[in-house]
Symmetry: C2
């Protein structure tokens, strides 16, 4: 447990700025007096790109390395061609800092709206691989823009990359009461990557005799997400399937306004990065309408990662209590939600 | 409209046999006296593979070409290594017969259970590309089984392949009352394939000024499938995203027991193939528990494809009436559901 936190803050685009401000507010409120918090803000995202054409210059990447962790709001804006900021900034950070565990917990809090009838009991965590698969940017386009165009996307998968994330998922499953781990892939079609994932999953599983395992094709998994989400405890899956499943998981647990994530480098060689699962939502930016809870829950993951388990739990309990006790039918501003949670964690 | 139908029947594995029998029963019942129905059954699937090691020999592939259409039950069994039958038989048929339009309608029938609260109005159709993308079997594995293994999966996409399926989707959207078409991809990460899809989608759209268009990333699309499925009319997407989205669509519209599909070769060069979206469900095979409705609705798609629109509608109306009028709380056998629908379409 660190006695000081040197935090990099990347508010980014759209509602990123607003929600990150609330995350920092709650972080300041929850930290014990004797933990020194230093923050440095990085101006990265759409505006910077428009101004300078840069997404993530080397100097900034180097500077980011010196922090204990990164808090990120959201990246992306319709004024920038799709992919430029995502690949040049967000994914570049995940890859450069080897964030191979993309951790996305899903929990249906009491008194929270879900589109699912019957309110199933949902409490699982997705361990999404963060540095391989179809996200590597490996691919190309030939005769671009002509009727003879061919475009490829290559999913790159290594035993090295799969084993380390699978092992992390087993560790997490083993430390949870239900001790259940589900691998999601599509090994009846993507046989090369799929069989490698499944073989490594089975082999590493021998070291975790107490963990019950299960395999689902990604298409079948989406069915269970809506018909039987209570069956899941820990899920491990590839980068793209994890992207898809965690948005669906957010939707069934009350919306993307509550979904937190951590891009974790478990070795500690590089700083880990914490961000809400949602995007920059330019349609509601600047209006105080964004729910900062996902960012605040991401701050809890950040604190847990840095060894401040007690403070992480305080935030999670504050969010649960806040959701349970809020007056039905009222809407609160971004600021009001942040204030309410800051008060709760401080008291 | 053909005065005779020369149908290939591939019951396949697990519940395939049972549901196909009901599909044929309803087909026979709905056809006018003067339409001659000939069927030929093909013994393909897990048993054949165990017996002979064959999945789809050339002789059978050639013979299948001579039919007007193919009715398929389900392919796949846990006793066969994952991928062998899927790729060696099911996908081989889709690719060999150039089934580039994989048509999957989703409709929430009255009196049908959905996991979604509030029963949204769901009536959309997914046009899934069927011959490209990550399904091409292009990829490989190096140093297989060792800690130094590398496995790739290559998504192959061509302007030729994308344009024809996008055009088909515009035609369908243009012929529906709401005239809305949504492209689903992930062009902020899969930039090569994604941008090609988006550019072709925009360009072809200029020929359909009455069709309203929309673009969603696949992760965001899954959110709307559960929070706002009524927003969709026609969706066009790639092979893998279509696979994932249509299982989710089936789940929210009352389950995989009702989801029909057509693997269509619109040029008519090769026979089109109709099959339920569900798999072989070996856990309930042979027990009369399988719901044959998805297969029967696939027969409706088959009839529509062959020009028997009137009979297709008869089946769809019979299914709607059957679901609306069935006694709550009762379960019927596979045979009973088939009988009930055969009686309805005949009367
Ligand atoms: C913005 C995008 C590149 C990103 C992803 O696909 O990983 C987002 O959807 C997420 O899940 O964090
Ligand atoms: C069995 C499998 C190969 C197939 C697919 O992935 O297309 C199935 O899931 C489907 O949707 O028809």
């Amino acid at each position: 447990m660190s006695r000081s936190i040197n935090l990099a803050v990347v508010p980014g685009d759209g509602i990123g700025q607003e929600v990150v401000a609330q995350g920092l507010k709650v972080l300041a409120a929850v930290l014990p007096q004797d933990v020194k918090l230093e923050t440095k803000e990085y101006d990265l995202g759409a505006q910077r790109w428009h101004r300078t054409g840069e997404t993530l210059p080397d100097a900034e990447l180097d500077s980011l390395k010196n922090h204990d962790a990164i808090l990120l709001g959201a990246i992306g804006d319709p004024s920038v061609p799709s992919g430029v900021l995502e690949r040049g900034l967000l994914l570049k950070l995940r890859f450069a800092f080897d964030h191979y565990v993309n951790l996305r917990p899903s929990k249906l809090f009491p008194n929270t709206a879900t589109p699912l009838a019957g309110r199933p009991d949902i409490d699982f965590v997705v361990v999404r691989e963060g540095t391989e698969g179809p996200y590597t940017g490996n691919g190309g386009s030939l005769r671009t823009g002509t009727p003879a165009e061919v475009a490829t996307e290559v999913s790159l998968n290594t035993a090295y990359g799969v084993e380390r994330v699978v092992r992390d998922a087993y560790e997490r499953a083993d430390s949870r009461p239900r001790k259940k781990l589900t691998l999601v892939h599509k090994n009846n079609v993507l046989v090369y990557a799929g069989h490698m994932w499944k073989n490594i999953f089975d082999r590493v599983g021998q070291e975790y005799p107490e963990v019950t395992t299960d395999y689902l094709h990604v298409d079948a998994a989406t069915i269970f997400f809506v018909t039987q989400p209570e069956r899941f405890d820990v899920i491990v899956t590839d980068n793209l399937f994890g992207d898809i499943l965690t948005d669906l998981a957010a939707a069934v647990t009350g919306g993307i306004g509550l979904a937190a994530s951590g891009n974790i480098n478990p070795t500690g060689e590089f700083p880990s990065m914490f961000e809400p699962v949602h995007g920059s939502a330019p349609d509601i930016a600047g209006q105080g309408k964004a729910d900062p809870t996902a960012t605040i829950l991401s701050v809890a993951l950040l604190l847990r990662h840095l060894g401040h388990e007690h403070e992480a739990v305080r935030i999670e309990e504050a969010v649960a209590a806040d959701l349970a006790e809020r007056a039905p039918g009222t809407t609160r501003t971004t600021d009001e939600i942040g204030d309410a949670l800051a008060v709760r964690v401080a008291s």
